[in-house]
Symmetry: C2
Subunit: 164 residues, 2 copies
Amino acid sequence: VGIKGVRGASRALLEAASNAPPELLAAPGFLVRRLYQAYVAAWVRLVDGTLTGPQFAVLVAVDAHPGADQGSLAAAVALDRSTMADVCRRMEERGLIFRTPDVADARRKLLDLTAEGRQVLTEVNSRARALDEELLAGLDPDDRARLVADLQTLSERWVQLGFE
Amino acid sequence: VGIKGVRGASRALLEAASNAPPELLAAPGFLVRRLYQAYVAAWVRLVDGTLTGPQFAVLVAVDAHPGADQGSLAAAVALDRSTMADVCRRMEERGLIFRTPDVADARRKLLDLTAEGRQVLTEVNSRARALDEELLAGLDPDDRARLVADLQTLSERWVQLGFE
DNA sequence: TAAGATTGAGTTCTCAATCTTT
DNA sequence: AAAGATTGAGAACTCAATCTTA
């Protein structure tokens, strides 16, 4: 368990809560960074140690919009164009997706799933849903909906802050 | 604005919400990744383009525990030992901290703020608090306390998941 | 000119391995 | 052996610059 180069669990997280300065413990940014770290650790442990979260998101998006261009799909999964180029290069090397130039506009690259990519998506998808279930365990349907709505609202507000 | 190598705002974030597949939009992990991206963008725009959030956390922690060893402080700010070594090396190069070997245990390195580090901490701290204020704008004190508590609870639960 | 994709540089982040010290 | 710090490799992420195509 724990493939080299794939983000895994850090022992530092286990003790972090105790000795952190109070100002940090109440700061939204610090909390969100910890939350994201914890999520990645849970993903590696319970879903997959080779396919990353962002790569899974690309699989889902390509499956939902087969043949769409790389730039549009990047926006759909909240990845920068540069990051998307890097992620897609790795996924193509692993045989998860095809990238074919658009005959109508040679600047674009169109993405499609390979048979391998489709199979990986199916397998990982069930574990990813199980993880979502675990992440929300202990919350009744109302609380879950409220939490998801809160996170979405916060994201949109914070995105606005980041761009004025 | 926007120093090279410092995480800034990605245009992809502005459109992400619209075309994302529904499964992703309701997935906690996807939401938290977007939230963290939005936070970093807001930090770069409203707080500082050269000092990063993790580096600021180190300044705060060293100020709270002067002369503590690097490993303990790493845990306090939720950084891996390796990450901490890297971050501290850059901060020492920029003249923000001293790193002196512990005479009682030569394996340890003890951290202290330089005068420059203390001044940067003071300046950045006010803007960081202003950012926290903006991030929580529109929420009354009860809602703020509830949000912070929810994020803390989620972090601890998700950390447990990542380590079983 | 402008848009899409890529590369280059730099930061964060993780794990495994190494090196020094206890 | 074990603990603290570091290095190496690799993924994600951002911006600026470049290159190709429209």
